[in-house]
Symmetry: C2
Subunit: 462 residues, 2 copies
């Protein structure tokens, strides 16, 4: 047996005790949004500190204005080995409505998941306690085999991820030195499917703006004034309709500055995933891709920027009818960004466009929301390639490098504040029901997740 | 003195007693929308029946599901004289907020209105008790001079005008024979200004439709789906933006069928009114006419059809931001109609246009609202010309034939159900504060209103 094989066997042998540990953590109802569970959050943090210590880490639960931040640091690693920061979170979502749970959310069980699969049930199994424990139990396999950890490891377990991470930016600001590493491993995402592991290499950024258009100084009777008085809903509709051309491209000047085409080899990898427009859209009751023509749904949602109206309101919106010409109308518009699109420039371009469409006797106001650039790893970065190979060795199908349509704030903070890239690897599945009743994690996700980290740590050191 | 001069003098001499009668009616708080005033509405109806009897009319307060409908019929008129139906309403608007009234709304007074004018204060003075009493006291002048009424007169006083006339259609249906005349005189409108009487000869019709567009079968996260999933707000904005071309014309096929240009002489009459875009729009905080280019605000609001969005809603409209792609978006759209535009055809054309813009995997639903054609008198109709001359004889400035941008349902019902045209003549002024605290009617409106009807009745008989 190679050293790696020994470690993997250790993980296999440890599975029962790994589950015991996971269950102990799952039994703590560490709901971060509900002040009633404050003590439980502290208890989960302390439990993790204890675990880290048994792994030989120096570990502390740092007090924040909210729930504690657990940070642990491993003993020194071999000369020249990289330093990685592992991130996970120990807090969980609330469990209402409780009556929809088939068993107690805080009394985890192993159940038959159908088709011969075993599942671990309970709140936090997939999001994110099960996931973070895959990493700790990978470290334990090294420890128990008396093997030195192959890379220097800092871990950071947050207790407020489910409540918007209010204490996180200040913590990074204050304790940046403590957690700064060569790159981060973030374990809070999913696999492509049951057999195909995934690494998220791109995350779209976001810029939001609320537009409020005011025309007359009061709501008007459309009989008396209709045909002569400006209608702000018409102005707004015209503006929003003009945001896209007939090919689905966004019309704002300079919008596509910094947007690059995805390398052909990456797109080929996606083609092998067998995703179709029909399946992707069929799940939500649609069938025709919207947006830019001639691109697949994966390309559209992972690598292309968008302009979307998230909300619109104006005039009478109640039951029945009121023949009013509204004094004002407003819309919330957001842009998903990719590549090196500059949030500030996009916002400016949007506002200039809107202003150019406002009649001289009408007014417009803007209320900004968010403004974060896209995150994009170099597709050829060695640590990405190494992790991809390690994951491919473990799972039935090769690991795929994917994009994510949404943003993950922590990844942006690591990038912006610590100049640190993140490798997003996780073992959740789409049907894990995170944030919903009957959350579960596949036993396979847990077991092979531990094995995956053993392989990744091994690969990263080489 | 001619017979007409004698009648006018009688009206002058009667002014104090005419005011006594008006005040008696004004003191009855006949608020139709509030069940607490049900008895007062009946009392006002009975009071009017009494008045009509003293004028020699056969009069009855007909019971309806709501408040009574007063109908009175004069003795026979001279052979060959026309038969007119006079319409007014005895119900009034509520008086809240009461603390904004400078005196008791149901204790009418004559006050100094500034600039040497006298005003009659109280709820219903202008809308519509003061107005309907001008007609009754014109009839009284004839009666007291022992002059035969020159035309056959039926009067109809409604008690539910301020609550949407729920009983009116059924009453016309059932008692059509009772009220059918050659044409109607409707006294519930205003003068152009203090010195210029007005006859409304056109009223725009109305068609409303609510459009509900459904895309995905649930609200979507714009990160995961943005760029690939149809956004119903985009579809709706595109539809609404396409309703008008760059000259402000409505783009629906066939929309302008039945729309005719206003005769030059009528437009010339309007030019003399001195209305400017700036004054008209300045009052509501605007300055640039919207809608069809190259037409005055009076032309736009009185004689041109419109398409207006009265309300729009979709997605997240609360405080802050939510990056959602909505499952549905909806708008309430109404069309003001003129000439012989056909409401059903306009609705069909609109719906066809909307359907043509709905992607094949999205759905659209419509909810109809209203659907009444425009009312338009023949500008050369003899009764209009006669009334115009009579009014011009009474007031400092000649009477102007105007349009009205809105609809008056009763006029449509008379037209549709009884094939009866209506002449809209009233003596209210724009600053009468109808529906608001401190409603008033100019003493001049009341006095010269009575004299105006004497002249009109005289003229109609010739």
């Amino acid at each position: 047996m190679t050293e790696l094989e020994t470690l993997l066997k250790r993980a296999d042998d440890n599975l029962p005790s790994s589950l015991d540990k996971l269950f102990a953590l799952l039994r703590i109802p560490s709901i971060s949004t509900d002040p009633a569970y404050r003590k439980n959050c502290a208890e989960a943090a302390d439990w993790l500190v204890g675990e880290l210590k048994t792994l030989g880490f120096a570990a502390t639960a740092y007090t924040t204005k909210g729930h504690p931040m657990v940070v642990g640091t491993s003993e020194n690693a071999p000369e020249g080995a990289p330093h990685v920061l592992f991130y996970g979170h120990y807090d969980v979502q609330p469990v209402d409505p409780l009556d929809l749970w088939e068993s107690d959310p805080f009394a985890p069980e192993i159940k038959d998941g159908g088709n011969g699969r075993k599942i671990i049930t309970g709140r936090g199994t997939s999001d994110d306690k099960g996931q973070l424990m895959t990493f700790l139990q990978a470290c334990r396999a090294y420890r128990e085999e008396n093997a030195e950890l192959p890379v220097k490891i800092t871990v950071m377990f947050e207790g407020e991820e489910e409540s918007g991470s209010p204490s996180l930016p200040a913590f990074i600001e204050e304790h940046g030195d403590l957690i700064k590493a060569d790159f981060a491993l973030v374990c809070d995402t999913g696999m492509w499917d049951r057999d195909t592991p995934a690494i998220a290499a791109t995350l779209r950024g976001l810029v939001g703006d609320e537009v409020v258009i005011t025309a007359a100084d009061r709501d008007l009777h459309s009989g008396f004034f209709g045909g002569a008085a400006a209608n702000p809903i018409h102005i707004l509709a015209d503006i929003l309709a003009g945001l896209h051309d007939e090919t689905g491209r966004v019309t704002l000047p300079g919008f596509y500055d910094g947007v690059e085409e995805t390398p052909e080899e990456v797109k080929k990898g996606w083609e092998q995933l067998g995703e179709t427009d029909q399946r992707f859209l069929g799940e939500i009751g649609l069938s025709v891709p919207s947006g830019e023509k001639g691109r697949s749904v994966l390309e559209l949602t992972w690598t292309r920027p968008t302009a979307e109206v998230n909300g619109i309101t104006g005039g009478y919106t109640g039951e029945g009818f009121k023949t009013v010409i509204a004094a004002r109308a407003s819309a919330k518009v957001s842009f998903r960004l990719v590549g090196t699109q500059d949030p500030a420039k996009i916002r400016d371009s949007f506002r200039s466009y809107v202003r150019s469409k406002i009649p001289e006797d009408c007014k417009v106001e803007f209320h900004p929301h968010g403004g974060s650039p896209a995150i994009h790893l170099d597709y050829n970065a060695p640590f990405l390639k190494k992790a991809q190979k390690a994951l491919s060795d473990e799972w039935p199908n090769p690991a795929v490098v994917i994009g994510m349509g949404g943003s993950i704030p922590i990844v942006g903070d690591f990038q912006k504040k610590l100049g640190m890239d993140s490798l997003l690897v996780g073992f959740g599945l789409n049907d894990d029901r995170i944030h919903s009743p009957n959350e579960k994690y596949e036993l396979t996700s847990f077991h092979k997740g531990i094995r995956s980290w053993i392989r990744i740590l091994d690969a990263l050191a080489k």
